[in-house]
């Protein structure tokens, strides 16, 4: 279990001294109606390993995962391998750019894998076909089981080189897997790679579980569980599977998240009809009360520098979004538009807050600046909520439920994602119905 998620040795060796300016460039701040044609050559296998059938396939599998990542990002158009003229081995040494230009590729990814002493060594190159130059070359070593992460790391490096932004492919998503009729729903915590692979269940479904979140270090998860019919915030260690309740509260705690440094849990505590926001330091176990108001205060979200907290309060009469300093002082309302606002989530870039808005019976996912200005609604639906940011602050994942008929038939819950630009809205495939998604930070730091 541990080996799957840790790379033993991750040494990035840049073996090209030339870093040319790119003629190939992608602007991810604008809606991309013209995805960049990119050719991903299957990674070829070192001659020493040619007899290893299983290993031979890994090179092709890695390129397929990379293509999947590129395609789903909406920014790239991976070209069909059937049109490739050059053999992977030769292309990796010296591509004949004319051949690649013929199939309209503007960028080319080539690579090589080698199995030595039970370790997987990977080398890849990114070529600017238009300028006929190599623009990125990296090598690293890991365990063979990690070949999917190899693909995600390469995807991130290519994405970063071509867009100027960090990628989001070497990440996982935690969510709630759902099944059964609405009035007897079985819910389990589940985790998967962002491309849907490696799906695993973290709880058995014996008790209701809701709203999981990753810690910044990605090894811990916090969530709400109705274990023994007592709704409380819990911590779960993904590697050991050990769960523990957070604090010793005499009533329901819910809506938990980690602070950006991972040292605290912030959550709501409900008592006597009032919900306030509290933090608990995981080390010292010191509990601090952050809001103190007879209204419902919930769904807290820290700014990435930890200095501010956005949260949901109905102190004005209806659900709105507020921002306060992380010690609870200086509370300011930031939403004033028509409708209800909920689930504020501060972007990892610090510049925007994503939210759910409800107006005239319709649900919207939107973003706004941290002072509430510049509200932009990205998508509208019968029911959707709870956006979560990719670690580069460019993509939002959320969930939707369909309208059921009077008998409750036709109901489904699914994960969806959309770019910050409002483009590339798509459903994320899960084995079961799904809700409450949360995006991890990059697994490679």
């Amino acid at each position: 279990m541990i080996k799957k998620f840790l790379i033993l040795t991750l040494i990035f060796i840049s073996f090209s001294s030339k870093f040319s300016y790119a003629l190939v460039e992608i602007d991810i701040t604008r809606g991309n109606l013209d995805p960049l044609p990119i050719a991903v050559s299957p990674l070829f296998v070192h001659k020493n390993n040619l007899k290893n059938k299983e290993f031979k396939e890994i090179g092709a599998k890695i390129s397929e995962v990379i293509e999947g990542n590129f395609k789903r990002s909406g920014l790239f158009n991976p070209l069909s391998k059937e049109s490739f003229v050059q053999e992977p081995e030769i292309a990796h040494l010296k591509p004949r750019f004319e051949d690649w230009k013929l199939i309209k590729a503007q960028a080319l990814v080539t690579g090589k894998i080698e199995l030595e002493n039970e370790k997987l060594r990977v080398e890849f190159r990114l070529w600017d076909v238009v300028a006929a130059k190599e623009i990125l070359a990296l090598a690293f070593t890991t365990v063979p089981n990690n070949w999917r992460r190899v693909a995600h790391i390469i995807s991130d490096k290519v994405y970063q080189r071509l867009t100027g932004e960090k990628g989001y492919f070497d990440t996982r998503i935690i969510y709630v897997s759902e099944a059964g009729p609405k009035n007897a729903r079985i819910k389990k915590l589940a985790i998967m790679d962002q491309d849907g692979s490696n799906n695993k269940y973290l709880t058995l479904g014996n008790e209701l579980v809701l709203t999981p979140r990753f810690s910044p270090t990605n090894q811990l998860v916090t969530y709400l569980s109705y274990f023994k019919n007592l709704p409380r915030v819990y911590l779960l260690d993904i590697e050991t599977g050990i769960q523990e309740v957070v604090g010793d509260f005499p009533g329901m705690t819910f809506a938990p998240r980690f602070s950006p440094d991972g040292k605290k849990i912030i959550m709501s505590f409900a008592e006597g009809g009032n919900s306030d926001i509290y933090t608990m330091n995981l080390e010292t176990r010191v509990v601090e009360k952050i809001t103190d108001h007879p209204s419902i205060d919930t769904s807290p979200s820290y700014s990435p520098d930890g200095k501010y907290i956005a949260f949901n309060s109905d102190r004005s009469g209806l659900q709105q979004i507020y921002v306060m300093r992380s010690d609870g002082s200086n509370v300011k309302r930031v939403t004033f538009g028509n409708g209800l606002y909920g689930t504020p989530v501060w972007s990892p870039r610090g510049d925007l807050i994503a939210f759910t808005k409800v107006r005239k019976g319709r649900f919207y996912i939107g973003v706004m600046r941290t002072d509430g200005s510049g509200e932009r609604l990205l998508t509208e639906n019968f029911y959707q909520e709870a956006p979560s940011w990719s670690p580069n602050g460019r993509v939002l994942i959320f969930y939707r439920e369909t309208k059921s008929n009077a008998k409750g038939e036709g109901f489904s819950a699914k994960l969806w994602s959309i770019d910050l630009t409002g483009y590339n809205e798509m459903q994320i495939e899960t084995l079961t119905d799904a809700s409450d998604p949360s995006w991890s930070s990059l697994l490679t730091k």
Binding site: P181, K182, N183, R185, L208, L210, T211, L224, N229, P231, G251, M252, F254, A255, S268, A270, G272, G273, N274, S275, I296, T298, S299, N312, D314, L318, Q319, L340, G342, T343, T356, V358, G361, F382, Y383, E385, A386, E401, K403, S404, N405, A406, K407, G408, F411, S435, D436
Partner: protein, 158 residues
Amino acid sequence: MNSMKLIKYFMITALCSVLLSACATSKKGAVLEGDVYAGNETVEYLATGVKDRVFFATNKSTLTTASRDTLRKQAAWLRKNGKISVTIEGHADERGTREYNLALGERRANAVKDYLMTYGISGKRLAVISYGKERPVNNGSTPLAWSQNRRSVTVKAD
């Protein structure tokens, strides 16, 4: 009577009949009063004549006249049966964000608990739990279903 008085008399009568007919909103079959469910489907009984639940308007936790009547009967039943403890469940409909609905359910359950306590029932006998929108009683996505789901249910503790 002089004509002014006669006109006044007719106007008052007309006004009263308009008001009275407006009060008859509960036509046969209409089960929503404003936004609050007023029917008996989904209602169960703790004892003869003692309904186990009350209903709420959207986003609200205020008790209607009908709710208070139900809760007075629950209080009387609890007074008569001093050994019984209950759990008060708070629920919300699906038309809201999940976390806020958990808090709203808790607020509704406590509105019921507070009212029962004003009738002398000890808080120690009244546990509270919120299920937010997680346990609907009606699986439909219709205003009627939603109104039946906006509820607080009093359940005998084991």
